[in-house]
Symmetry: none
Subunit: 132 residues, 4 copies
DNA sequence: GTGGTCTAGACCACT
DNA sequence: GTGGTCTAGACCACG
């Protein structure tokens, strides 16, 4: 069920190709997409989400440039074997800038620490239930 | 010491005018900037951060459009009196989209909940110390 | 005279965007394009060579991804300050794969070493005269 | 020992079928593969290098189209008798485009002529030793 | 079947 | 003015 692999928000401020890049990057470095695993074809993804194939292709190419995907000539893209799965520490690094910005926003809004932590915890539990 | 009022990162992905808008908005709705308080002039802000005055002006105009700032003839922009300070619940709403995106990213990265909450807590403490 | 900055061969097997990427990369790492120097605009390059602006933009974006160019918001692309100029040794590395392939081709063609070296030397002198 | 006849790099930018075409062409025009000599079967080559038989077949067909190979009914492909061995001058022509591109790249990288010629000379000596 | 390249043109975002 | 994004569609290259 590749149908649920990606979530695209066409109206979001973040460009579509980057939504794809970032979701795939996170799933690759966490090992949810395993080395050697084949990605859905450009045309499939484009068709499922009613977007232009070139937009998908652009995302794949960028990930190829990061050496997270490799092009298997004539047969599509697969997850790269080398250095694709990262340690928890490395994955945490990917989150650092967001956490810094968030901490700053929280203090500018004068919100209490437990209030925000509770809410975030709750959202994470919601996610876990949805995928359980 | 207006010098420290805003933090601008010209190379950040978020456009400069929006960095200004969002920082000011948060400080206004939380009451850190009080109704009637005068903002630094466009020229001052532009000079301090070496950015284009039009960029600052645009940010001020947007906040004026939200009725968070008012243009005082001859004396520059001041924080609006009406409805500028919000309840904790309203302020929390401003954070919701970020928290949703963050929760999603955390799960795609397969990071543990306590790990992330601890780190966020730590960043908030760092902020508090810096401003103490 | 930016007119002569790039040489595009639309009929070459190598895609246009990559011709641009590789020429610029070599000129940046060699210091012929200096840190901070502004590149001709996407529209200029596209107009001069009668190609689509998106093709040029794609090349610029790839170099931005390599951190060889930086986007100056609203004002165009400039050569990155950090690590743009490389040592002779590093530049030589960029040539190694080509030299290996070439050596292999020369031996498969059973050409004599001096014959080829002389010819290459001559072509380099021709280049030097053209730019003198 | 046909095993060493071809060197295939599946991940190289040059397509596999063209790697085969060019290596064989060079060995034919130089006389390393002699008129009448039988080539390994499509199936053999494909098996040895773990590539698609159609890819090998395509390469053989292209060389047949250049009249460098002939299809011998029932016995596979053999090197063509006519006009297969070329003069040194003709073989040099096959190298000209690469040498031009190389000269250009060398100058864009601002490398010194002797530096590059020495390195190329060294690579050629390495090749000679390997085949001695 | 796969992905890649390029175009023409629209529209947006930023300064 | 600058670059960015996306589309629709054509055509190519590869296996």
């Amino acid at each position: 069920m590749d149908a649920a692999l990606l979530t695209i928000a066409p109206a979001a401020p973040e460009p579509i190709y980057r939504q794809i890049v970032e979701q795939l990057r996170r799933m690759i470095v966490s090992g949810q997409l395993k080395p050697g695993e084949r990605l859905p074809s450009v045309r499939d993804v484009a068709g499922q989400h009613a977007i232009n194939p070139m937009t998908v292709s652009r995302a794949y190419s960028l990930l190829e440039g990061e050496s997270l995907l490799v092009r298997q000539r004539g047969t599509g893209m697969t997850v790269a074997a080398t250095r694709s799965t990262h340690s928890a520490h490395e994955r945490m690094q990917l989150l650092e800038p967001r956490l810094h910005d968030l901490a700053r926003a929280i203090r500018e809004l004068e919100l209490s620490t437990p209030h925000v932590l509770d809410r975030l915890n709750q959202l994470l539990e919601d996610q876990d239930e949805r995928h359980a």
